[in-house]
């Protein structure tokens, strides 16, 4: 649903979602998904995401990646938010975080960082990822989704990586929550459930859409420090 307010009048456009919630996770089955694809009757969002397809494969991911969440109550139940988390190489940490949000808050996580390449990029966008552009993150938050911004990769999962300041300009004015993600097993091996620690939302003074680069740099610094502190506590 797209909503905006102007002069006391509400503009509402009811989208055909065919019973699929674009924000809340649901359950589905293979037959329904196939039938819907043949009819062409399934929701797609402007980022290319296909939530019904995500609901179909989610049980397989959840069965593979087990998570244990500290302070799950800090995850947002509704409205837009940005989760800033550490990561190693690739998308394993964001995938574990997506499982955590699905398990604890029943919401879909939109991971920022889909590669801007054919085939793989298209597939990841179908599964909910979004390209790493300031405009894309701003549009995602205006549509009231929960976005995950992974910090720069650290090869051996040695700590919080470099924060993407340019991206965080679009996050100003929204709740920004630091999160630490760590594999449960020895030497960083995911033998036991992944440990996920959710921090307190960061205090940001800048307004939405202010585009203040200094406030974004301060936010980036605070996010990195808080993620590192959470990693150290795990």
């Amino acid at each position: 649903m797209s909503v905006s307010n102007s002069g006391g009048v509400t503009n509402v456009s009811v989208l055909p979602v065919y019973g699929v919630d674009p924000d809340r996770t649901q359950t589905t089955d293979l037959l329904t998904v196939i039938r819907r694809r043949i009819e062409g009757r399934y929701p797609v969002d402007p980022f290319g995401s296909d939530p019904q397809l995500q609901d179909l494969i989610a049980p397989f991911v959840t069965a593979t990646v087990h998570v244990q969440v500290d302070h799950p109550e800090r995850l947002p139940d509704d409205g837009p938010a940005v989760l800033v988390s550490n990561r190693g190489l690739g998308f394993v940490e964001p995938a574990a975080l997506a499982v955590a949000l699905r398990q604890e808050a029943g919401r879909r996580l939109r991971v920022i960082g889909a590669p801007d390449v054919p085939i793989l990029g298209d597939l990841m966008r179908k599964l909910g990822a979004v390209m790493s552009y300031q405009n894309d993150l701003a549009a995602l938050l205006r549509a009231e989704h929960v976005a995950a911004i992974p910090l720069g990769p650290t090869w051996l999962r040695t700590g919080a990586g470099t924060p993407p300041i340019q991206l965080l300009v679009a996050a100003l004015g929204y709740p920004v929550i630091p999160v630490a993600v760590r594999p449960g097993g020895p030497l960083g091996l995911p033998l036991r459930p992944w440990r996920i620690a959710v921090g307190e939302p960061l205090a940001v003074k800048a307004k939405r859409g202010s585009g203040d680069p200094l406030a974004a740099a301060e936010l980036a610094e605070a996010a990195r420090d808080n993620v590192q502190r959470l990693i150290d506590q795990l």
Binding site: V9, V44, G48
Partner: protein, 324 residues
């Protein structure tokens, strides 16, 4: 207010004129185009003119001295005319009509038709751009739209009037001539084999309402106007009950040639939409123009396929009695 509607012979230009006729603050409406309006107009005056006849077009505009211009003289390639002619008409109409209107000194505002094509697609460009995203068109039609925007903005700056550039998603409807509509209505539709990009459409009525609102409010700057939500290419084909024909790389050369032979030429901006998608963030336009309920993209897509449905009217009299 005296309003000049360029491109009045198109579906959108005609509808804009109809909507303007309902507004009391609009005293006079004059329209120009190379074909007559598509619906009945009650108090608009239409002048048929080839946009390339700059002298005649300039005379008409100078004589009318409009306060506002709704510039629909931005012709989409392979929609009503060939791509080459569309670019010529657009350039001639923009330079002559806007230039003459600005020189009268009476012009107070301009709203023009542009498209999401100005953002381009491909590496280094955001997937869902808003109005602050850099413009870097990747197709000839995108470059044409950007040139029109640049010219109008430059005129506006020199003569001190606001210019609203409506970057519309592909306008569609059951009766709108459009290369995308013709392509999707083919019985077998070429689609990318290894991708399923998302795109947005804009219903003809919403496009016309946006233009009228932008003109009457005197909006300044670009606005993305899109149908809410999105559809994917494979999905659009199935919504119309058509058969998808998966195509890879060089296969598109054959596919577009076959489509052209079947009566659906595929200009570069349509090929780009089919292979890379085209979406944008339209939240600012919803807020600024206060458009109320808009038709979602998937509904517009479904309506595209309704054009061929003919409902036979049942005669009220036996045929033998007709005309007696």
């Amino acid at each position: 207010m005296r309003v000049l509607v360029t491109g009045m012979g198109g579906e959108l230009g005609t509808r804009v004129a109809q909507l303007l006729e309902e507004r009391s603050e609009v005293r006079e409406i004059v329209g120009v185009d190379f074909v007559p309006p598509r619906r009945r107009l009650r108090r608009s005056e239409f002048r048929r003119v080839d946009p390339r006849d700059r002298e005649k077009l300039t005379d008409i505009v100078t004589e009318f001295a409009p306060n506002a211009v709704a510039h629909f003289g931005v012709y989409e390639p392979a929609s009503r005319v060939s791509p080459r002619l569309a670019a010529e008409y657009t350039q001639a109409c923009t330079v002559a009509a806007l230039g003459a209107a600005a020189r009268t000194g009476q012009l107070e505002r301009v709203a023009l038709r542009s498209g999401l094509v100005v953002y381009g697609r491909g590496r280094g460009r955001p997937g869902v751009p808003d109005e602050t995203a850099p413009v870097a068109p990747t197709t000839p039609y995108g470059r044409t739209c950007l040139e029109v925007e640049a010219l109008a903005v430059d005129l506006g700056r020199r003569h001190g009037f606001p210019v609203a550039a409506l970057r519309m998603a592909h306008e569609a409807g059951s009766h709108v001539p459009s290369p995308l509509g013709r392509f999707l209505r083919l019985p077998v539709v070429p689609v990318p084999a290894l991708a399923d990009p998302a795109f947005q459409l804009l219903h003809q009525e919403d496009a016309a309402r946006a233009m009228v609102a932008a003109l009457l409010l005197g909006v300044d700057g670009p606005l993305n106007v899109v149908g809410p939500g999105a559809a994917s290419v494979w999905q659009a084909v199935r919504l119309g009950g058509r058969i998808p024909w998966p195509v890879v790389g060089p296969g598109w050369r054959i596919a577009t040639r076959v489509a052209e032979l079947a009566g659906a030429p595929v200009p570069p901006h349509i090929l780009e939409l089919m292979t890379k998608g085209r979406t944008a963030d339209g939240s600012k336009a919803l807020e600024v123009l206060d458009l109320g309920t808009m038709r979602p993209t998937q509904e517009v897509c479904t309506e595209l396929f309704e054009w061929a449905k003919v409902t036979p009217l049942r005669p009220t009299l036996p045929i033998a009695q007709v005309g007696t």
